[in-house]
């Protein structure tokens, strides 16, 4: 009891007012542990730890919090402690009631207790109570969420048998982000990847997927659902074989009547991607070996670059480097006349002073929005297109509309702790 009292005193200081003025954890990386005296008798220890790793990761995927399992530090330095018990348990003054009714409880100070008289089961097991679902719920309490009665909320007080795969819905995500803010960060590149598919009737259809890349991992963004794919981010080397594992500077898809080539750029080199075999070319059909030097493949363009995109309207690749823009004519295989030019000339500010001013992180043509976006830091600028000019003819061609925050347009692109990348 004295030990717990010391923990209480210490843990009180870990809570502070969040950005929204609510009580929440004040730090962004939290340590957790399944305590040794609190193992369940129903699942193997490894299964229990795996389920908790997954539960914490699910919260990481929708919030700016990261969680790391800590099995070494002194217990008082661990932020969230989990354990199983029955009846009187783990020094807790809230006795469990046996099989049925109460299955777990959690405390703001970071302890989560599970009633081991309940029949807890692993994910995707038909009967029993899903430990994963209960853990996600209780972690929600530890983070500061109350019970929510909305159907579909993970914070409903009563347990509902798990659907084939439960996930955090839109409102639950907003609830946790109300406490801790949205997920922000710079991106290495953003692109829509075109792929061709054959229907059962043999017709070829064109589809695209949106990808956000940051350093050594990436997310697939589901535009129709306004969120990332469940379970992302993924390590770059898993989904994009052969490109630098620590990240890229740019992605360009040259797509015209005569050409269809995907390139990744990093440093002074670039790679061509083989969509058919889902990896980079070592040697493409034209006989070029990769990686190639940017100066060799795109004469006149100085590397390393910040980012690039291909504009199908004029068949040019626009390379961005510092405050300059290099427009490369793909057909002529040379820089377009008059380039390089200042970014402010090529993409003038619609509102004076509201401009990225160079060193852009990503240039992204979105098929969803049919427009180009320039991203820098946590902000983005939308490039004036034909639709905007129809509404406001006074807008300059390729002007940059006033900036917005990336996380107000693309939601929940959240990091997880590196140890959680592979569970």
């Amino acid at each position: 009891k004295r030990h717990l009292a010391a923990l209480v005193a210490k843990n009180r200081r870990r809570r502070d007012l969040s950005e929204a003025g609510y009580m929440a954890f004040s730090k962004r990386v939290l340590k957790w542990r399944l305590i040794g005296e609190g193992y369940s008798s129903q699942l193997s220890i490894e299964d229990q730890r795996y389920i908790f790793r997954l539960a914490f990761r699910m919260w990481s995927e929708v919030s700016p919090l990261q969680f790391v399992e800590d099995t070494r530090s002194p217990l008082e330095d661990v932020d969230i402690r989990l354990g199983f018990g029955t009846g009187r348990h783990l020094g807790c003054n809230q006795r469990f009631d046996g099989t049925g009714q109460e299955f777990a409880h959690a405390w703001f100070l970071g302890d989560i207790h599970f009633d081991d008289d309940e029949h807890f089961t692993g994910p995707n097991t038909g009967s029993g109570i899903s430990l994963l679902k209960v853990a996600v719920h209780e972690i929600g309490h530890v983070l500061g969420l109350p019970h929510i009665y909305r159907p579909g909320s993970i914070m409903q007080p009563s347990y509902l048998p798990q659907d084939s795969g439960f996930e955090m819905d839109w409102m639950d995500r907003r609830a946790i982000q109300h406490l801790y803010g949205g997920c922000k960060g710079r991106f290495s590149t953003v692109f829509d990847w075109i792929r061709k598919e054959k229907t059962p009737y043999g017709e070829v259809v064109i589809r695209f997927n949106t990808y956000f890349m940051r350093d050594s991992w990436y997310w697939l963004y589901e535009n129709r659902n306004n969120r990332t794919r469940f379970g992302d981010p993924v390590a770059l080397q898993i989904g994009w074989r052969g490109i630098p594992a620590d990240g890229v500077d740019a992605y360009v898809h040259v797509w015209s009547r005569k050409r269809d080539a995907v390139y990744f750029f990093k440093g002074t080199q670039f790679w061509r991607y083989d969509n058919e075999n889902d990896r980079v070319f070592r040697q493409d059909p034209e006989g070029h070996r990769y990686p190639r030097s940017i100066s060799e493949g795109f004469p006149g363009v100085f590397s390393p670059i910040d980012t690039a995109f291909y504009d199908r309207r004029d068949a040019r690749i626009y390379f961005f480097k510092n405050t300059l823009v290099y427009a490369f004519d793909v057909e002529a295989n040379s820089l377009a006349r008059g380039f390089p030019r200042s970014i402010r000339d090529v993409f003038p500010a619609v509102e004076s002073g509201d401009h990225p001013d160079g060193n852009v992180d990503a240039a992204y043509f979105s098929y969803t929005h049919n427009t180009v976006f320039l991203l820098k830091g946590t902000r983005f600028w939308r490039v004036v297109g034909s639709r905007e000019r129809r509404r406001r003819p006074s807008l300059q061609r390729n002007g940059l509309l006033p900036h917005k925050e990336v996380d107000e347009q693309w939601f929940d692109i959240c990091n997880v702790h590196p140890t959680a990348l592979r569970l």
């Binding site: 006795r95 469990f96 046996g98 099989t99 777990a104 405390w107 703001f108 209960v134």
Partner: protein
């Protein structure tokens, strides 16, 4: 160990496990409503903190039972408006027909597996909470304190 035969422990048998007492009557229902804050918001954080003193360690359920039995009986009884109001609130948030009656549907809902954290808590973000901690808490803590004093 609990006996099992399947590799994934899916058939684990709980011969000796306790069964939670089913909520079958209004008395138990009142305890339920009180425990989870429907009669009066629970100061959940206060409860976990107070009992770290060995001398004041007690069973919360006993405290709630003590409330019903001992005595500030003027606060509520089974047929009181407070109980009915709490029951209706529980029915409302549980998407049940709001009858104010401890009916079968309500009984079933109360007996479902659920989280032990109260549904209605004293707002932890109340800026004056720290000053009202001793005054705003419900009868359970008053009785708890008096019992703790008696114990000492």
């Amino acid at each position: 160990e609990k006996v099992f035969h399947n590799r994934d422990h899916s058939d684990v048998q709980n011969f000796n496990s306790r069964q939670a007492e089913a909520i079958t009557d209004k008395y138990a229902a009142e305890l339920f409503l009180s425990r989870y804050g429907f009669i009066k918001p629970v100061n959940w954080e206060e409860i976990q903190l107070e009992d770290l003193e060995p001398s004041s360690h007690s069973d919360l359920l006993d405290d709630f039972e003590g409330i019903i039995q001992e005595g500030t009986s003027s606060h509520y009884s089974r047929d009181s408006r407070v109980f009915v109001s709490a029951l209706e609130e529980f029915q409302r948030v549980s998407a049940l027909p709001v009858t104010g009656v401890f009916d079968e549907a309500t009984k079933e809902a109360m007996n479902k597996p659920r989280c032990g954290v109260p549904d209605k808590e004293v707002d932890p973000n109340d800026p004056v909470r720290s000053h009202r901690r001793r005054q705003s808490v419900n009868i359970s803590v008053d009785v708890h304190e008096s019992r703790a004093v008696r114990r000492r």
